[in-house]
């Protein structure tokens, strides 16, 4: 499922890049989506004309809930008029994407005549050395550890910037970016999250790219609560706010008992704790019901995290002879009680998405 999704995303990325848009993807691929080829041809024939409509910033192929392809017209705002209801028999849906930010182009990536960028974008200045409030809207590229979320949720935390070697993604939880399985690929990721005043689409930093579905059952063997949103170096930094721990290392460390750790999150900012239990089976309460997780990490004390810290990256707090291990990623925070915090082992999460921490 992951591979087919990736292949299709690449295809749509190429289309989107050529057209200067980001693709919007649908959920639930089963094999090759029927009608995709024809939809692409229709899109190809009509895009130039659609782009002449004021407020239209791009086109893409999307899929309705029943799997039927549609032409998506991406618009800067909701008030764009003059769009056809269908094209050559294919439904046309308008979707507010806001302004499309240029992705960081790299030699050998993408290709096609529209992908040549004669003036490479300047590296944006980084506001993180000054930012101290993770709930606030932070100038782009936004610092990790700050408030984020799918437009339908309250707020969680950007854990880290991760990379597959080509693109960069914001790492957080399924319940932060994928709305407990209910989101659609391509849904917006905001900074700050809705609860903290984030506005869709003005505060978009990325789009939902992949998530591990959560099985809601107290006999399930969930391994993680994790999701990634496709972002860019222009929108997403890899350093915490100034009152955090800085840039995480790219090399990870397996959790061990008594390991000293720290994290930076939206609610409790920088906190320190210790690995209290490993290989843990845990029943976690969600708005959708209870989900059982296995092979998790338990961290104490209780004030290590609070609601809103979900998605935080937990790293080693290395001092003295362990200083070399400082900031090595250990886990992805997603749940807790009054007395403990639950995290998924970071290696399992990174392997699932085929990415590494884009760190030091």
């Amino acid at each position: 499922m992951k591979i087919s999704r990736r292949v299709l995303l690449s295809l749509l990325l190429i289309m989107g890049t050529v057209l200067g848009t980001s693709p919007v993807l649908a959920d639930k691929w089963v094999g090759s989506p029927p009608g995709l080829q024809r939809a692409m041809e229709v899109q190809d024939r009509n895009t130039d004309h659609l782009l002449t409509v004021p407020g239209v910033v791009g086109t893409a192929i999307g899929f309705r809930g029943d799997g039927a392809p549609v032409v998506l017209v991406l618009t800067e705002h909701a008030l764009v008029g003059g769009l056809p209801k269908s094209l050559e028999g294919l439904p046309v849906l308008a979707r507010v994407s806001g302004k499309i930010y240029a992705r960081h182009h790299r030699a050998g990536h993408g290709g096609g005549p529209g992908n040549e960028d004669p003036t490479p974008p300047e590296e944006p200045s980084n506001s993180c050395p000054e930012a101290t409030d993770p709930k606030a809207r932070i100038d782009r590229p936004v610092c990790i550890g700050s408030s984020t979320g799918h437009p339908s949720i309250t707020a969680g935390t950007i854990g880290a910037r991760v990379t597959d070697g080509t693109d960069v993604y914001a790492l957080s939880n399924n319940h932060v970016y994928a709305y407990e399985n209910q989101a659609v690929f391509g849904d917006n990721a905001l900074q700050p999250g809705d609860f903290d005043g984030g506005v869709d689409p003005a505060d978009v930093i990325g789009t939902l790219f992949d998530f591990e579905p959560i099985t809601f059952s107290d006999t399930a063997n969930n391994l993680m609560d994790a999701a990634i949103a496709l972002s860019s170096t222009a929108n997403l930094s890899n350093i915490t706010l100034s009152n955090g721990y800085g840039v995480p290392k790219s090399t990870t460390q397996t959790a061990s008992l008594n390991l000293k750790v720290k994290k930076y999150g939206r609610t409790t900012k920088l906190t320190k704790g210790v690995v209290f239990a490993i290989n843990a089976t845990v029943d976690v309460n969600y708005s959708n019901g209870v989900a059982q997780f296995v092979d998790q990490i338990i961290i104490t004390p209780g004030d290590f995290s609070a609601p809103g810290d979900s998605g935080s990256l937990i790293v080693v707090d290395g001092k003295g002879r362990n200083k070399g291990d400082d900031r090595k990623p250990v886990g992805l925070l997603f749940a807790g009680s009054a007395l403990m915090t639950i995290a998924s082992p970071i290696d399992v999460v990174l392997d699932r998405f085929g990415v590494t921490i884009d760190g030091e």
Partner: protein, 89 residues
Amino acid sequence: MLGAGLSIVQAMGSENDMKGTLAVDAVKSHAEQLMKLPGVVAVGVGLCDTQPCVKVFAAASSPELLAQLPKEIDGVIVALEISGVVRAR
């Protein structure tokens, strides 16, 4: 999760590694059964004093739980922790 050569206890010796392996095995084979005990929300490998043991986390203590909780599993100590209910954050 625990590969060869990886210590499950930070900065401790091989004796604890062996006990750690026993505790990991005890959790693996008994987590399902322990999770069914009244009020239990989590089961994992932790430390009792300095030795790896089975930690059972419950939302609250109760006479029913205390009556059913084993003192040890496969020679590994079982310790109860009161944790409260676990929620997504």
